[in-house]
Symmetry: C2
Amino acid sequence: MVLLCVGRVGVLLYFVGLGLSAKDISLRALSVLNSCDIVYLDSYTSILAEGGLDEIRRLIKPGKLAVVGRDFLEEHVEEILRKAEERRVAIAVIGDPFIATTHISIRVEAAKRGIKTSVIHASSILSAAISESGLQAYKFGKSATIVFPEKDYRPTYPYRVLLENLMRGLHTLFFLDFKAERGASMTIRDGLSLLLEMEREEGEGVLDEGCLAVGLSRLGSEKSITYAGSFKDLQIYDFGPPPHTLIIPGILHPMEEEALIYICRAPKKVVKEWTRRATAIKLRGTLKG
Amino acid sequence: MVLLCVGRVGVLLYFVGLGLSAKDISLRALSVLNSCDIVYLDSYTSILAEGGLDEIRRLIKPGKLAVVGRDFLEEHVEEILRKAEERRVAIAVIGDPFIATTHISIRVEAAKRGIKTSVIHASSILSAAISESGLQAYKFGKSATIVFPEKDYRPTYPYRVLLENLMRGLHTLFFLDFKAERGASMTIRDGLSLLLEMEREEGEGVLDEGCLAVGLSRLGSEKSITYAGSFKDLQIYDFGPPPHTLIIPGILHPMEEEALIYICRAPKKVVKEWTRRATAIKLRGTLKG
């Protein structure tokens, strides 16, 4: 209780997860946001699956919410922390904080100055995508983000992550790029095309249009879609508006095969053929390793 | 709209995530649970970090909630599905559905019979533990559950998962066992001791009391604790009541080192020493691979 003497008790910077859609907000998040003097809402890391920021705005007492972009949260850390030393401040983000965001540096900076921080958890694309796919959570390997290629920058990093996971029989979750500044959200179709391009570049002979993938869109909303099939099936399927997410399974347990067939509506033939191929890729990994 | 003719529209089985604590419940989950005729609440897969099932009970209109154990949800699938064909039924679980639970077989069975299912997402230990640790989400490899050893069953599987991740420089998240039938929840101390036992058995010379770990307890509650340090530090630290979770980091980025030191209060020396050791283990993996 020494802290009482220096007037620090009650000094709190909250990182509040809003969940995947406006209705995913929790009782705790609502109560914390309404107890704060200032709420900065990050509008650039991701987008809500359903309901706009206006819907969030309506849930919070008027006058305290500031919707901020990338520049603000990166360049005004000093200002945010100064305010947090005097008033209750929250940084609200879509999903669970620190999963898809880079605000950890703000939390570290706050801790260095003795500002207590607290995280309010919420639904996250990480667990939601795994949950909806019916695949087993503990069989996912490293994940990666597929980014929009730039003129001189066409990274094959996601392909190498996938290959490494497949050689261990593991599933891979791909986050798809979101560029708030130009309102561009990568689609499942784009993501699959980019993976096939990387295959051509790296030439490991692992991916083609017959491979199995799971496409997931707008998870957390009433209009969410989960659909599994070959790359070719998914490239012509209409997943609707963003956000989109992609999973490439590794070796499938019979119960996972059933989940993909009955819940994600994957053609049985594509699933069975992939199980055969994924087993062969893993064997190649074992022989190599 | 052909479905209207066969009277199937509106037939819905919901899988509702309650989040990590009673206050983590979302507006959507509340509205769905209160729109259902029957709510089965799974009381055996995990425990709430804060607030009891009574608190959940108070949020739901009286008379429709049944708290059920393992036997019921495993043996009464037929009964649950029959009810879902006539009335709105929800299965409510702690966390995000299908992450720590095995109810996917109920969902598959429902799909086979043409019963529409829907998942309501919530905060999950998977994203919450990653988020609180300050470690980067995409650097986690495969995860595993450390289970209570039985007389003739002392699996070293979690150790092998850890070793595989470390050889790739990746972090490992360990779920700790929970045995509802005897109210036993594994502690961080138990988990670390078991890992050290597995080291002695497997003899790979990777783990000892000086290794770095992150212990997390009651995430999602106001009394959550996150504390990082050597195995030895964590084995004498009081993390309080369950649920507990454990992370063993792989190679650390400088920002991750800072997060462990400033947010998780890890001794700088332990972190720096671990970065050196984790790099050596990865090198060993590269040479071997």
